[in-house]
């Protein structure tokens, strides 16, 4: 937590109780006329602490600690890939945003054959799933010493590091850890252990976050790591606990296994909760084929607000009927909001029709606009003289019926 200028001033020589130190007060050597002026510049981050040679060691320690974020940033890096946790400043995402998505790691035990470790690490490194145009990925591998043997652990770490993704090393014995570390240059070992069950994990991680943010309690101001498979309750509870820990408030989460049907929902949950509430997820504008459409399938237009897109795409999808969905760049606003803000007008829709490949994809020249912007009809006919404009339903739920009957 940043200190105010006055709080800093109280730590500078002019405020000192030590006569020797106080004697330097307001000496101007820092380049500022008074200690107070220097304090103000420090608070505004426009001066360096080092410019004053007379600050006591105790004050220096306090000032540099205050300059740290309440939860330190930890970066786990490997060649080209990294996973960051920390720097969080809120308990609830609506208060601002969550900044660094919890790193999701998959555990491999060093008792597996080296080939197996290599291929698992590679599978984790290669895993990629597209979600509204974002490539969601796992963060790395956590190598666990299950053998108790330093040499075997070292070999496992070496095998895993071939995948060139961030690593977490899990060993209790310092000697074993040292062997492993020697094989994984540049890895930051994580020291934090937390409570494991659903209830204990939620309480402990909530308390850690509160202490760091509200009490400015430095010793605990680090990202926490969580091991949802230690929560008890069996394999299918692991994903649920991992989800809880992503939401509240782990910096890194280690999964016991790599299972796409579990990893995908967890990555989407993380993407959703770590979205900046002020900047909703936007869908890439463009042409989206639904249910393998052909040249005579209907063309419908909507905006690139993710919820709008999902509502529309989902209904079209579930209708089972092939169609083309044309997504206009309405700066991530819903149909009505975008229309009111002038971001989804006749010009924008016309630009989307002309600017995409839709005219090459279909043999007809008919396009459906959302019922909420029926008023744009006339203008749009002028903008798109070759196209017939049709008005669709106002609500996405009515799309299947519309596609079946009105097209």
């Amino acid at each position: 937590m940043a200190l105010s200028g006055l709080e800093i001033y109280k730590l500078l020589p002019a405020s000192s109780k030590d006569p020797a130190e106080k004697a330097h007060g307001n000496c101007k050597e820092c380049g500022y006329p008074t200690c107070l002026a220097f304090a103000m510049k420090l608070a505004a981050k426009q001066a360096e602490l080092a410019a004053c040679k007379y600050i006591s060691e105790a004050s220096k320690a306090k000032l540099s600690a205050a300059a740290q974020p309440p939860i330190r940033l930890i970066t786990l890096a490997a060649d080209g890939r990294s996973s960051k946790a920390g720097n969080e400043i809120v308990l609830f995402r609506h208060e601002k945003t969550f900044y660094n998505p919890a790193g999701i790691f998959v555990r491999v035990a060093d008792t597996l054959p080296a080939d197996e470790i290599r291929s698992q690490a590679q599978a984790v490194a290669d895993y990629k799933v597209d979600y509204v145009g974002l490539a969601l990925r796992l963060d790395g591998v956590a190598v666990e010493v299950a053998s108790g043997d330093p040499a075997q652990f070292a070999a496992a770490v070496a095998a895993a590091s071939a995948a060139q993704i961030p690593l977490i090393l899990m060993a209790e014995d310092p000697a074993v850890m040292a062997e492993g570390l020697a094989q994984a240059g540049g890895v930051t070992p994580l020291l934090c252990a937390v409570a494991h069950t659903f209830a204990d994990s939620l309480s402990a991680l909530t308390q850690l976050r509160r202490l760091a943010l509200k009490k400015n309690f430095r010793p605990l101001g680090y990202p926490a790591i969580a091991f949802p498979y230690l929560g008890g309750g069996g394999a299918d509870m692991e994903m649920i606990l991992a989800g809880q820990q992503i939401a509240k408030y782990a910096g890194f989460v280690v999964l016991s296994r790599f299972e796409p049907a579990e990893v995908y929902p967890l990555l989407v949950l993380r993407a959703n909760l770590f979205t900046d509430p002020q900047k909703p997820i936007q869908v890439e504008p463009g042409v989206y084929p639904i249910n393998k459409p052909t040249a005579d399938a209907p063309v419908l237009v909507t905006t690139n607000f993710s919820i709008t897109y999902f509502a529309v795409a989902n209904e079209m999808e579930s209708s089972g009927l092939p169609a083309w969905l044309l997504v206009a760049d309405a700066e991530g606003m819903s149909v009505l909001t975008a229309w009111a803000a002038g971001k989804f007008d006749a010009e924008k829709i016309a630009k989307t029709v002309k600017g995409t490949s839709i005219a090459d994809q279909v043999a007809h020249r008919k396009v459906v606009i959302p019922g909420h912007v029926a008023v744009l009809m006339g203008e749009l006919e002028e903008e798109l003289p070759d196209w017939q404009i049709k008005v669709g339903p106002r609500e996405a739920v009515d799309l299947p019926r519309f596609l079946k009957t009105a097209w």
Binding site: F92, A199, M237, P265
Partner: protein, 323 residues
Amino acid sequence: MPVTVEVPVEKWAGTVRPVVLGATAAEGGTRSHSLTLGGQATLPFLGFEAKAPHPPRVAVEVWNRNPGEDWPEPLTSAWGAVLDDPAAWTQAAEATGADLIALRFATVDETGAPMTGGKARQVFKAVLKATGLPLIVFGPGQAELDNEILVAVAEEGAGERLLLGSCEDKNYRTIVAAALANGHFVTARTPMDVNLSKQLTILIHDMGMPLERIVTDPTTGALGYGIEYGYSVMERLRLAALQGDTMTQQPMLVTPGEEAWRTKEARAAEGVPAAWGDWATRALNWETMTAAALVESAADIVVLRHPETVRRIKHMIAELQQA
């Protein structure tokens, strides 16, 4: 040197309003027990701050007809033949560990003919007889038909303390009047917005409905389909409730089952990326993850569809209540 850390406890001014669903014989109904929602004096499951007197509850959906094509195969196969018989389905749902049954009426009956108030009465009677659990009854979501069905059910089940839904700002008066006349409760459904939720509670309360008989449905999106909006609206509503804003202190109901099973992730068997994993597992996980996140963000009732999700969410809640 030992470091002493003071547990960071927050002081809250408000609590969630207790709402008691279901009436036993002694209370003028036929339920085997009643069920209390709400009463929390802190955020979900923070036992170090205050014990939650009543855990979140799990309701299981039962339809008046076999959902057929409306539900994907991994969901219909989990229930099997009982889908053809609302009473048998109700008993199967109770056997999964459901706390409540959520009877949902479609626009049509099992033959595809339009639903009517008269037919709804018959289905409702059969379901009421099949279980002693408290009931939620949802109309199909079309104003006229909702009114016809819910008025019929409200009369048929007079005194049972049913939870009738959904009241929306465009259509709530008839449902509220029927609930008032027959001793029932209502859900107030608004589209993911703190102020709209508050407003609808006030409107319903202004008709004479006691606040102790209103449950809000702040609506949610499924995982990947806007869940973050529902999640944050619920967190904000619960924070407001704890800070003492009396019109936000209603228990909250959400329908993650309905939302999750509509998604492509739950419905698409083929033509999806291999990274999505096995269909049946992924579909089930989609409902689980959606429901679990909403339980964490302060849902008091989650309405679910798959028996395995019910087991998982019940397990999760039991674990969390230990705090």
